[in-house]
Symmetry: C2
Subunit: 191 residues, 2 copies
Amino acid sequence: MYSGSMSTSDRLIESTRELLWERGYVGTSPKAILEHAGAGQGSMYHHFRGKPDLALAAIRRTAEEMRAAAEGVLGSPGSPYERIEAYLRRERDVLRGCPVGRLTMDPDVIASDELRAPVDETLAWLRGRLAALVEEGKEQGQFAPALDSGEIASAILATVQGGYVLARASGSPAAFDTAVRGLLALLAPLG
Amino acid sequence: MYSGSMSTSDRLIESTRELLWERGYVGTSPKAILEHAGAGQGSMYHHFRGKPDLALAAIRRTAEEMRAAAEGVLGSPGSPYERIEAYLRRERDVLRGCPVGRLTMDPDVIASDELRAPVDETLAWLRGRLAALVEEGKEQGQFAPALDSGEIASAILATVQGGYVLARASGSPAAFDTAVRGLLALLAPLG
């Protein structure tokens, strides 16, 4: 499944990322990870202290990738509204859900401060990035001055995370797009 | 845990509802359900064909309750905006997540048309109910006529579902409230 040049440690991390996205933390057994990675039991304990340690490495890598992908559109040229729109409309594997956000529904992730931290940090970073853009849009007269940038940023982020829920419930990515269009209509620049 | 007057079948359903909300479908074993219900293994197979059958009964009951609770605020007196606001601000066990929406992150629920159906139907019903209110608000001049009622309803529903994600990530219900305030500011009546 992975190229021969990938280290065992990397194969274990990549396998864990895939399985966490697909099955969640509770649904991912060490046995399934080893099988997916084509690795022996000893190799997991040679590189990691156990499932939580390996999951932490996997979640951190997924969080970094998500941040880079978001920054790719949020930091692109264009007006604040256009950059928020590009973020909302960027290509996503909608029916798979958000690889970071879906972890919040995992009781064992939420029960562990260590595993929850990268999830919380990633969403907080995104929220801060969006709030700065809304603030910029307010200064440029694109958004109403009375709006609270942090609140609007939270609503944007929540629409994305909830869009995944609606898409998975209906079995169609269209439900995500519909929610995004609704939010964009409400956010549309003044005048 | 349950009153002595509750039938074994009801105890099994109530236990399954609790565990699905807490641990998800993948994380809920038949053994855990039986322990929680204080029931013997035979009783589960006497009343239900197995875990999927019992889960379906549990999900249906949870969905019915959620619908009744939502209708309680959406059907209350007040302007369309006030009723949408009441729905968004209604008391919720935010940190536990939505007992219906969280099931969409459960791979075994999504893989089963039968288990996914009550989840999809409940969210579709809510969306329709909200869309009718937005339409009413447009007719009364509360919302801009150019808004698409279905899209706005989806954005409202997504904000709620995503609000749970943000709250669980941060470990605080405040994150849910912030997203709701942002959406309400964007929805605020004209004039």
